[in-house]
């Protein structure tokens, strides 16, 4: 059984469990699934700086901060006790494209050639961590939600604005992965 759990899970299993998060949160406390709000609560908690957008009672949404703390702890548990002994399986066509950019290490779930502490102070680190992270934080709040709040919770609740937001997430991602990143990889 443990051997089975240690294997990478099928997309249908993952999709089912993530989908079930929606009714679970609703049933245990009328909470709407959404992760990016946690970033806003952290701002409201730590650095509100008298900005009106952060002047609200974040303590009332402490549940959301505990939820993301849980995600962090869950990842530690899965990585420590349930980790897959084999290397990650990635589509051959993706591997071929990434090889052109020098990404060849599949020993971990993330490419060690990018997500490495030694890269933090390099141009590569600036692009993948600082620039990328900034866009995620800025964009999700501007859009009013992320993959969880819009794409899963919003579309599940048949919200047209969420469908539009999701199409824009995908459009931005297609542009980024196929146009912007190949260009940046050439420079770095």
């Amino acid at each position: 059984m443990l051997e089975l759990i240690k294997q990478p899970w099928h997309w249908a299993v993952a999709g089912l469990l993530i989908g079930l998060t929606v009714p679970t949160l609703l049933l245990i406390g009328n909470k709407k699934f959404g992760v990016s709000s946690s970033l806003r609560h952290i701002c409201a908690m730590c650095i509100p700086a008298k900005i009106p957008f952060f002047k609200y009672e974040w303590k009332k949404e402490i549940w959301n901060l505990l939820f993301v703390l849980g995600v962090f702890i869950g990842a530690i548990i899965a990585t420590t006790f349930l980790s897959n002994p084999n290397t990650i399986v990635v589509a051959e066509s993706t591997k071929a494209s990434l090889a052109q950019y020098g990404i060849t290490d599949y020993s971990q779930i993330m490419p060690a050639q990018i997500f490495n502490i030694e890269n933090i102070l390099t141009l590569k680190g600036f692009f993948f961590f600082v620039f990328g992270g900034f866009l995620v934080g800025f964009g999700t709040r501007y859009a009013g939600g992320c993959t969880s709040g819009h794409s899963i919770m919003g579309i599940s609740n048949l919200q047209i604005p969420s469908l539009i937001a999701t199409c824009c997430f995908m459009a931005g991602g297609f542009f980024s992965a196929n146009v912007l990143m190949p260009l940046i990889f050439k420079l770095l």
Partner: protein, 163 residues
């Protein structure tokens, strides 16, 4: 702080607001969310959703995996919400379940495109960000701090941006 004003502020640019009652803001009464979060984090890692490789496959249309995950999650979520509404199911404490409707604004387009670009670069939406750090990729801590900074800068310039 005027309470009503605080609630109005909170509703800005949020898919939904989820304020708990005053009696529920302690850490202890919220432990159940920590447990759901832990389960969620385990799924993220075990299905390799937090992997930067999976996101590259998705945006290069070279694997069905992420489409399968998100598609299944939406179908399950949709069915669940339909059932909850259809049978007027209450929360475990007997509260009525309410889900606000969302109105369109241009932020969903501009912000959506910006987030999409960042999603492909970092290989993470906000949820997986927490899980990537938990998986031991400490460099993602920089991404996380930068995402908080991005949210903060958005809050600072919010009034000047088109909505």
């Amino acid at each position: 702080m005027e309470n009503k004003e605080s609630i109005e502020v909170r509703h800005q640019d949020a898919m939904c607001t989820n304020e708990s009652k005053q009696s529920e803001i302690g850490v202890f009464s919220n432990i159940k969310y920590l447990i759901v979060g832990i389960a969620f984090g385990i799924v993220f890692v075990k299905a390799e959703i937090i992997s930067w490789f999976r996101i590259q496959e998705m945006f290069r249309l070279q694997s069905f995996f992420m489409y399968g995950v998100i598609g299944t999650a939406i179908i399950v979520g949709m069915l669940s919400i339909w059932l909850i509404k259809r049978f007027n199911i209450k929360t475990i404490s007997g509260e009525k379940i309410t889900i606000e409707n969302k109105t369109f604004n241009k932020g969903q387009v501009y912000g959506g495109l910006i987030f999409g670009i960042g999603w492909a670069i970092t290989g993470a939406c906000p949820g997986p960000l927490f899980a990537q750090i938990g998986s031991g990729f400490l460099a993602v801590g920089v991404t996380f701090i930068s995402a908080i900074a991005g949210t903060w800068v958005y809050g600072y310039f919010r009034d000047k941006l088109p909505h």
